[in-house]
């Protein structure tokens, strides 16, 4: 069902396109040798090129180009073998040269697509318009002094990928799913850490509203939203605002707005009239960027398995449900963990343990898969004890908790606690006989047709054997006697 917002005049559809700025993972900046790492004392990662000194020239960092191409391939997008760098001219204190080098007319990556999955299982494809490389600006600090602003150029010149989506997004949930998926792909590729809190991934959100069947109406751009949750809120807030404007007989102005999460509102930053004239033109300091198809092919061969492919393979290879597979491929590290556990074992059982008990334990202890207190090998070792019937499923839960606490191996815990499953038919038969003798009335009822009492007998026998009895053998023994 189409997501709509109900206004006074009826239902409104929303139309959203996202421009995501993703900071490229690279040692040095896009056009200089200065370090691109996050943090560092202000103005310590700045070369003369970054600071725009006279006579300094940009030299393109090949690794950043490789990262952009990898990302393009990950977005199943067209790689443009020839692209170009333009200058986007504007004056600002944290833009040392007075222009940003960007790819305005000829981006390195063209059309692509991202598959998203919504909570109800719907699968949608969001078009990618383009991906281009550009430099980040520095940072202006206005809160250090009452009268003066300070500039930190550490970030100036760091490579960004701007990933522009088609206006294919129709609800906040899709925007969230798209951003999560994009982040997942970038992290799989190792081209951006996707860390929105540190600003290494930021989104500009283009929002408009329309009545069903209408062409697009005027859109507003909400700049620099820095969390997925805020993006979803901002869309809703802005769409609601625009609906009010239209319904009150007004016009939505094309403008740039800011989202204020504290007040849950968007505010105008600048209107179209005040929009900068960026005077784009090809940067004469840089030659057109020409890449060989052979290099693109080589980069493609070096790509890791992408999340969608991995999910499909998990479904096929391990026979687990698509939903479980999606959960398991959310992060490369989780998928690797799962595969190590599942390899040569009951893959469905492995999936249940990883997505159930393990995720629960990680959540409880505030850890990630990378520092899981139970290694994949250790969890696998425990599952082996279940498979070879050394322990049953119920005891396994107890062993798992013990492993979490002590870090001991499952085998050691089973030994220490004497949890080995009893498969001795004599012992089971004796326990069965004892339970029957003590519950003669229930036996009578069962034989009188009260079938569901069977579970009661199983429970009693297990209890008598401290949970260690092989459940299948208990069932069998009970059936025989009853």
């Amino acid at each position: 069902m189409t997501y709509t917002i109900e206004g006074k005049t009826g239902a409104w559809e929303i139309v959203v396109g996202l421009e995501v700025h993703a900071q490229v993972i690279s040692h040095s900046k896009l056009f200089s040798g200065a370090s691109a790492s996050y943090g560092g004392e202000p103005n310590t990662h700045v070369s003369l090129v970054d600071a725009g000194f006279p006579g300094m020239l940009p030299v393109l960092n090949q690794e950043c180009v490789a990262q952009a191409i990898r990302t393009g391939l990950g977005l199943r997008a067209r790689i443009n073998l020839e692209s170009r760098f333009d200058r986007k001219n504007y004056f600002y204190a944290d833009l040392p040269t007075g222009y940003q080098i960007s790819q305005f007319t000829h981006p390195i990556v063209g059309e692509g697509t991202v598959e998203i999955e919504l909570s109800d299982g719907t699968v949608r494809h969001i078009g990618i318009t383009r991906l281009h490389m550009e430099q980040d600006a520095g940072k202006s600090l206005h809160d250090q002094d009452p009268a003066r602003s300070f500039i930190d150029l550490n970030r100036a010149g760091v490579a960004l990928m701007e990933i522009v989506s088609e206006p294919d997004i129709r609800c906040p949930e899709e925007a969230g799913a798209y951003l999560r998926k994009l982040r997942q792909i970038l992290r799989y590729l190792g081209t951006c850490d996707g860390n929105m809190e540190e600003g290494s991934m930021r989104a500009d959100v283009n929002v408009s509203v329309r009545k069903a069947g209408e062409p697009f109406r005027t859109r507003c751009e909400i700049k620099n939203v820095n969390s997925i949750r805020y993006v979803m809120h901002a869309i809703e807030v802005e769409a609601t605002r625009q609906i009010e404007v239209w319904e009150d007989g007004g016009e939505v102005d094309q403008e740039t707005r800011l989202f204020d999460p504290a007040r849950n509102e968007t505010r105008s930053l600048r209107s179209k009239e005040d929009a900068h004239d960026y005077r784009y033109f090809p940067d004469p300091d840089l030659l057109p960027l020409v890449v060989e198809q052979a290099w693109v092919d080589e980069l493609e061969r070096g790509l890791p398995e992408l999340p969608d492919d991995k999910r499909d393979r998990f479904v096929k290879e391990y026979g687990i449900p698509r939903y479980d597979a999606s959960v398991l491929v959310a992060e490369q590290a989780i998928a690797d963990y799962y595969e190590e556990v599942a390899k040569g074992r009951d893959a469905r059982l492995a999936a249940n343990w990883v997505t159930g008990d393990l995720f629960g334990a990680l959540n409880r202890t505030g850890r990630t898969i990378a520092d899981s207190p139970i290694s994949a090998a250790a969890l696998g070792g425990m599952l082996d004890l279940v498979s070879d019937k050394t322990i049953n499923g119920k005891i396994a839960k107890e062993v798992f908790e013990d492993m979490l606490e002590t870090g001991d191996s499952a085998a050691a815990i089973v030994d220490r606690k004497g949890l080995k499953q009893v498969t001795d038919t004599g012992a089971i038969d004796a326990a069965v006989a004892d339970v029957m003798a003590r519950n003669a009335d229930k036996v009578e009822e069962y034989r009188g047709g009260k079938d569901r009492l069977f579970g009661f007998f199983v429970g009693q026998v297990m209890k008598a054997m401290a949970g260690k009895a092989n459940p299948a053998m208990v069932n069998e023994a009970l059936k025989k006697v009853l």
């Binding site: 000194f53 006579g55 030299v59 393109l60 001219n89 004056f91 007075g98 500039i151 300091d285």
Partner: protein, 494 residues
Amino acid sequence: MSLTELTIADAAQGLRARKFSAVELVRAHTDAIDALNPRLNAYITPTKDAALKAAQQADEALAKGEARSLTGIPLGIKDLFCTNGVRTTAASNILRNFVPPYESTVTANLLRDGAVFVGKTNLDEFAMGSANITSAFGPVENPWKRNGDDVALVPGGSSGGSAAAVAAGLAMGATGTDTGGSIRQPAAYCGIVGLKPTYGRCSRFGTIAYASSLDQAGPMARSVRDCAIMLQSMAGFDERDSTSVNCDVPDYSAAIGRSLKGLKVGIPAEYRAEGLSAEIAAAWQQGIDWLKAAGCEIVDVSLPHTKYGLATYYIVAPAECSSNLARYDGLRFGERVPGDTLDAMYEATRRAGFGPEVRRRIMMGTYVLSAGYYDAYYLKAQKVRTLIRRDFTEAFQKVDVLLTPTAPTPAFAQGEQSDDPVQMYLNDIFTVPASMAGMPAMSVPVGLGATGLPLGLQLIGRPFDEETLLATGSALEQAAGFTHRPAIRAEAAK
């Protein structure tokens, strides 16, 4: 012969033969600067002390037999090349006190080969001008005088300080930069040789940019051979300049005196333009005759888009400069005039920092790149530029080199043309097309005009074929036997 009259080639021999020391040679030039620079204003920043120190080191190297091609040779450096620890102004108030902590690739190459820098030469502000009258440090006076008067003439521009210094014996050679004629036209006005190499031959790293797609460094000296020696040092691929070209640097001196038999010399019809003075037309014909006599075949060619060269140049160059000069904002280096807001600071800083010609070109460039005008001006200019380049490519299928005048007139008096910027721009009419096409070109002095001022002819070659320019230039030089010297010069001042 006086030390300030020698060529680089002769001085290098003299130094090796210990006929004189590097200190003597350099001191002769720093003395000349002390004596004449107050009048000529060819140098913004003379660097006498550092030069004499470097000369001592040169003598040590010579004593050890470790001399390189330019060891002990006193050179002037256009004040557009950043020099480590030495003030670099671009002749602009905005960089009046700027001392770069780095060395341009071209000057680093010259230093590697032992050159001694005697100072930073004057120029038009940010290399924008054709008469060296836009410098924030005052105009340069041409050391040449018209017959019978003492009126101060312009040295041409923008490398006017370099040209005047070399002509007057205040340096044996000098670096220039050429964007639309800034090496060739002042070389012609001052009676010296100036070579603008192929775009990409010399690195632009560390050279203050005017128009990046056109700027090219080159040598200015008193002989073709000296230009070859200097270019040998200056040229080469530099990974810090993405537009520098990675191809071998040949032995340029070997081209000097090469036989020209069978060389095809093109004479472009379009350069017989209106406003070409009779004396220059005559010099051009003389040049044609000399080359014919040297065994060249003279071929009439056409460069039909020549007439659009200047108009195209004055779109492309200002467009690039409007962006290149945005970094002079008073924030990180250079002069700052405070303001209440960031914008007020920008405005005050740039108003005080830039002279009228620089402001004019920034405004023109901003205009032609603006939304709504970009297609009509900048984009169209780029298309015409492609046609201009194609003119040359087609001509070079028929001929090996082109011969034209360098400038439509000889040097003019300070104040004669400065009222009308368009009139001033016309000085570059013959030099701009080769710049737009990125072709190498050279001006060689071939004689004196009716008023006793030097006249230059321009040779334009195929990309990266500076050797043919040098070979042809040396033939012209030899035929012309140009030994005239300006009225104001070191030797005459003694």
